[in-house]
Every structure is written in structure tokens, then in C-alpha cells.
């Protein structure tokens, strides 16, 4: 009896959850489906079964050189993440292992820089970039993305590093390990998972950043966010192509995102929810 009730409960929950989940996922699903339609099919009303043509994909590449934007997205997101890690790892490390009275204040202050609205400094940044010749350059944008995400990176690394037990360090020191050995053989292996998660989340955030990447680029350094935004001006009916471009733009990060759900919670709540 109890079992029957549980099973019924489970069935209802399953059906309800799947319906809601599919509704939420629908815009993405429909985009993927439309990307395999011809332009003609795409505007012929609701239809979930595409003819399975790849022509939109090849046209997106042929007409707009999609791959260049994709490459820029990869370079910018990975590059800015590596830069951020290089700067943040030592900082998070020292905060986690030799905290001072001011460590907490510094962390809070770092977080507060994240709250500055980008638009408030749009023009100064634009001006600085123009005067330094950094407009539409990958290096400039990479530094920009690094600065935007640096507080999150420091915070996330800090919460991971803090979980590494200090006793292990003491034990290693007792055994006569030098500082260098300590870092290479004891700390690094324990820190790698945290660094990898931080990296993953940061790549996702940098990939999807859609203010500076649009405003500070024109063609050479433009990543996918800027490329997709260029579709907003009406150029006739191009939905199959738009869908193909969109699918390509979100696919890699969607898959990475699926693998980083847990880290996402932790990173975006600054360790407040685990």
C-alpha cells in the first residue's frame, strides 16, 4: 500500500517535472531544431521536425566567417581566465593560509568592486582604450574580462583553499619539507580540483559577458556575443541562420555548464551556499 502511494507520487512528480523542464528548455531546443531547417521551413509555422539540412551552418560560416568570432571567444575566455588565475592564486593562497586581521576586509572590498555598474564607467574605459589603441584588440578585452571576474576568482579559490587542512602543512613541515616542496608536493595536488572548478566557471562567465565584449570591439577582436548582436538589425528573414549561429555559440558552454553545476552554485554565491 505504502509502496503503491510512493510509486504514484513518483510518477506524478516525474511527469510534472519533465513537463516544466521541457517548457523551460524549449527555446533552446527549438533553436537547435530550427538550425536544421531551411529558411523557407523556418517561417512556415510551428514544426518540430526539421528536414535536417546543414545549409544554414555552412552559410553562417561562408557569409560571416563565423569561425573567427568563435576563435575570439575561445581566446578571450580562456586567456582572461588564465590571466585571472595567475593573479588570483597567490592572493587567495596567502589569504587562506596566512590570514591577517585585514584579510576579511580585503575580500569584502574585492567583492564590492564587482558591484560597480559597468555602464557607469563606460565612457572613461572607452576613452582609455581609445587612447591606448586597445579598442577592438584582444589583449585589451582580455585584461578587461580578467578584471571583471578577478573578485569571483579570488573568492572561489579562497573558499577552496580554506578547506585544505592546515595540519597537513604542519605535518609536512615537521618532516622537514621546504616551502617549495610543501607547495609542489602537498598543496598543489590538493588545490588542483578547486582551481579547475574556478577555471571552468570563469570561462563560462567570460564567454557570456555581453557588455564590454559588445561595446569595445568592432571586427577584429569581436567574440560571439558581438557577432550574435549584429543579427539584431533587421536583414530580412534569416532565422535558420540565426539559429545555426546561436546553436554554435551556446553549445560549447552549455556542455561545460552541465558539468559545472555544483561549482556554479558555490562560485556565484561566493561560498555562501554549497
Amino acid at each position: 500500500m505504502a509502496r503503491a502511494v510512493t510509486n504514484r507520487h513518483k510518477t506524478i512528480a516525474t511527469i510534472a517535472a519533465w513537463i516544466v523542464a521541457l517548457l523551460i528548455f524549449f527555446p533552446i531546443l527549438y533553436t537547435i531544431i530550427t538550425s536544421f531547417k531551411s529558411e523557407q521551413e523556418a517561417i512556415q509555422g510551428f514544426n518540430l521536425i526539421p528536414s535536417g539540412t546543414f545549409e544554414s551552418y555552412s552559410e553562417v560560416q561562408a557569409q560571416s566567417g563565423y569561425f573567427k568570432f568563435f576563435l575570439n571567444s575561445v581566446i578571450l575566455s580562456v586567456g582572461s581566465t588564465i590571466l585571472a588565475l595567475l593573479v588570483a592564486i597567490p592572493a587567495a593562497w596567502s589569504m587562506a593560509f596566512s590570514p591577517t586581521k585585514r584579510t576579511k576586509d580585503i575580500l569584502m572590498w574585492m567583492l564590492s568592486t564587482k558591484m560597480m555598474p559597468a555602464v557607469a564607467v563606460l565612457f572613461p574605459i572607452y576613452l582609455i582604450f581609445r587612447n591606448l589603441g586597445l579598442l577592438d584588440s584582444r589583449i585589451g578585452l582580455m585584461v578587461m574580462l580578467m578584471l571583471i571576474n578577478l573578485p569571483i576568482v579570488v573568492w572561489m579559490l579562497y573558499t577552496y583553499f580554506r578547506e585544505i587542512p592546515g595540519e597537513i602543512l604542519e605535518a609536512a613541515r615537521m618532516d622537514g619539507a621546504s616551502l617549495w616542496n610543501e607547495i609542489v608536493y602537498v598543496l598543489t595536488p590538493m588545490a588542483v580540483p578547486g582551481i579547475a572548478s574556478t577555471m571552468l566557471l570563469n570561462i563560462i562567465l567570460a564567454w557570456n559577458e555581453a557588455f564590454w565584449t559588445i561595446r569595445l570591439t568592432t571586427t577584429d577582436a569581436a567574440p560571439l556575443t558581438a557577432f550574435i548582436s549584429s543579427f539584431s538589425s533587421p536583414q530580412g528573414l534569416f532565422w535558420a541562420k540565426l539559429s545555426a549561429a546561436s546553436t554554435l555559440a551556446i553549445a560549447p558552454i552549455l556542455i561545460m555548464g552541465w558539468f559545472s553545476q555544483k561549482q556554479l552554485v558555490r562560485g556565484l554565491t561566493f561560498g555562501a551556499v554549497k
Binding site: M115, I204, V273
Partner: protein
């Protein structure tokens, strides 16, 4: 015991991050403040100079300013209500025992990874388009007149899109919090004859309160600066119907080249964000002491 040596090493290791963020915070902000008191037009450099508070006066008296503040707040509050209420319900649903829970989670979280321009364009063209969109197809199926979302209800349309992007975030975080709720406590409450509603009210909701606070604060930071969604859908229009503060500042700065006014608007955006930040920092800071 931290020795003098390790302490200076620690300072040395922290320096790059601190210096970079300090420069990144102070320099542009100081420039914005400076420009907000200047007459400056990159296209017409002859009439430059100090103008006191007139940029602020101009920006305030512009009817668009009031619209933009109202729209900004409408977007923030509406999306927060939708995502928090929806997120709680959705998290409780997904937390039930079911088949394929992992896949359901993946489907629900997915919109969060869609970059804002893609989300906005997909909704604009394929879902909400008054002629070819899925909503129009559904309306026609029921014999109704399709709605011209971006013409008639531009702000509502933007709120729907932004809520779709942030609902997964709220759900994921609330679900994580829900799953840390002690099963035994739940069972005990059930044994004591507590109904579903009282269990929700006295047990689940208090348990989720911190997660809810965090969701509200973090989303507010991002929702105050919604930009790409407006840029690719309505471009702030019709009129100022969907212009928020960031979008107005962008228009003033890069389209009209009224740098002084744009900077005055930027300063207001900073003040607005600081009010939110003040509460956000306190909430996150409390957690650090734990």
C-alpha cells in the same frame, strides 16, 4: 605563528590582485566623476569646460530619466518575484523522488548558460515574433489575435526574457539548499502530523532563507545592469518604454556623445548599486564569520 617573513610574503602575493582591482575601481570612477562636472563632446571640443552641476540638472530633468529609473526598478522587482517564487516551487518539485532527475536538472539549468544576446534574439524572433513566433502560432491555434510583444508590451517582454535567464540560477541555488535539509527533521515533522503547508512554512522556508537572500542580492546586482537584452530586442523603445538606466547612459554616451550627462547618469547608477551592495556585503560578510 606567522613570522615577519611569511607576513611580508603574504603581502607580496596579494599585491597584484589588490593593485589591479584598486586601479580598476578608482581610475574609471574618478574619470566618470570628473566628466560629470564637465561639458565635453568628443565631436565638438571647442566648448569644453567646467559646468558645475548642470549635467546632473539636465539628466534629472530629462523625462527619460524618470522612465529609466522606473523601468530599472520594474525589471529588478518583477524578475526577482518571478524567479524567487518560481525557483522555490521548481526546486521543491525537482527535489521529489522521480525518474530522470539528473536530466531534468540539466534541462532546467540550461538557460543560464545561454549568452544574453542569443537568449534575447531567440525569444524575439522565434518565440515572441507577432507573425512567425511560437506564441503567435499558439494564439492562432486558439483563434486569437497574436500579440505584438515588443510593440505593445516591450517591458513585459524583456522581463519574461530576463526571468527565463535567471530562473535556472534561482532554482539551482535553492535546490542545493533544499537538498541540505535534514531528512530526519522532515520525517519527524511528518510523524508529528504537520501538514504540507506547515512543514513548508516552519521548516523548509526558514531553512532556505539564507539561500533566498543570496539569490535576491546577487540577482539584483546583475538585474540593475540589464543591457544586451534591451539592445537586441527593443533598443529601449518604443519611445522610452523599455529604457533602463544603463541603457539611457549608454545612449547618452555613445549615441548622443553627451558625455557629461552620461557620466552624471553613471554616478547615479553607482549610488543605486551601492545601496544594494551595502546590504549584499552584510549578508555575505556574515557568512564569513561562520
Amino acid at each position: 605563528m606567522a613570522t615577519q617573513q611569511t607576513r611580508s610574503l603574504a603581502r607580496f602575493m596579494m599585491a597584484p590582485s589588490v593593485v589591479l582591482l584598486l586601479v580598476w575601481m578608482v581610475v574609471p570612477l574618478a574619470l566618470t566623476l570628473w566628466f560629470s562636472f564637465q561639458q565635453y563632446n568628443p565631436l565638438n571640443p571647442i566648448r569644453d569646460g567646467f559646468v558645475g552641476f548642470s549635467n546632473y540638472a539636465l539628466f534629472y530633468s530629462n523625462p527619460a530619466f524618470l522612465y529609466s529609473i522606473l523601468n530599472t526598478l520594474t525589471i529588478v522587482v518583477s524578475v526577482l518575484v518571478i524567479t524567487v517564487v518560481g525557483g522555490i516551487l521548481l526546486a521543491m518539485l525537482i527535489d521529489q523522488p522521480m525518474w530522470g532527475q539528473g536530466i531534468v536538472r540539466i534541462l532546467v539549468i540550461s538557460p543560464f548558460f545561454v549568452m544574453p544576446p542569443v537568449a534575447a534574439l531567440v525569444w524575439k524572433n522565434m518565440i515572441m515574433h507577432p507573425q512567425y513566433g511560437v506564441f503567435a502560432d499558439i494564439a492562432r491555434f486558439f483563434g486569437l489575435q497574436p500579440i505584438d510583444w515588443f510593440g505593445q508590451y516591450p517591458l513585459t517582454a524583456i522581463i519574461i526574457i530576463v526571468a527565463w535567464q535567471w530562473l535556472p540560477f534561482a532554482t539551482l541555488i535553492l535546490l542545493t539548499s533544499l537538498q541540505s535539509l535534514d531528512g530526519e527533521q522532515k520525517e519527524a515533522a511528518e510523524m508529528d502530523g504537520a501538514g504540507f503547508l506547515s512543514r513548508f512554512w516552519y521548516l523548509t522556508l526558514p531553512h532556505m532563507s539564507r539561500a533566498i537572500t543570496v539569490v535576491i542580492l546577487i540577482q539584483t546586482i546583475f538585474l540593475l545592469s540589464v543591457y544586451a537584452e534591451i539592445l537586441v530586442t527593443t533598443n529601449g523603445g518604443p519611445g522610452y518604454a523599455s529604457t533602463n538606466l544603463p541603457f539611457l547612459v549608454y545612449q547618452k554616451a555613445l549615441l548622443e556623445f553627451k558625455i557629461g550627462q552620461a557620466s552624471a547618469g553613471g554616478v547615479i547608477a553607482v549610488i543605486l548599486a551601492n545601496i544594494v551592495a551595502f546590504f549584499a556585503m552584510r549578508a555575505v560578510g556574515k557568512n564569513l564569520d561562520k
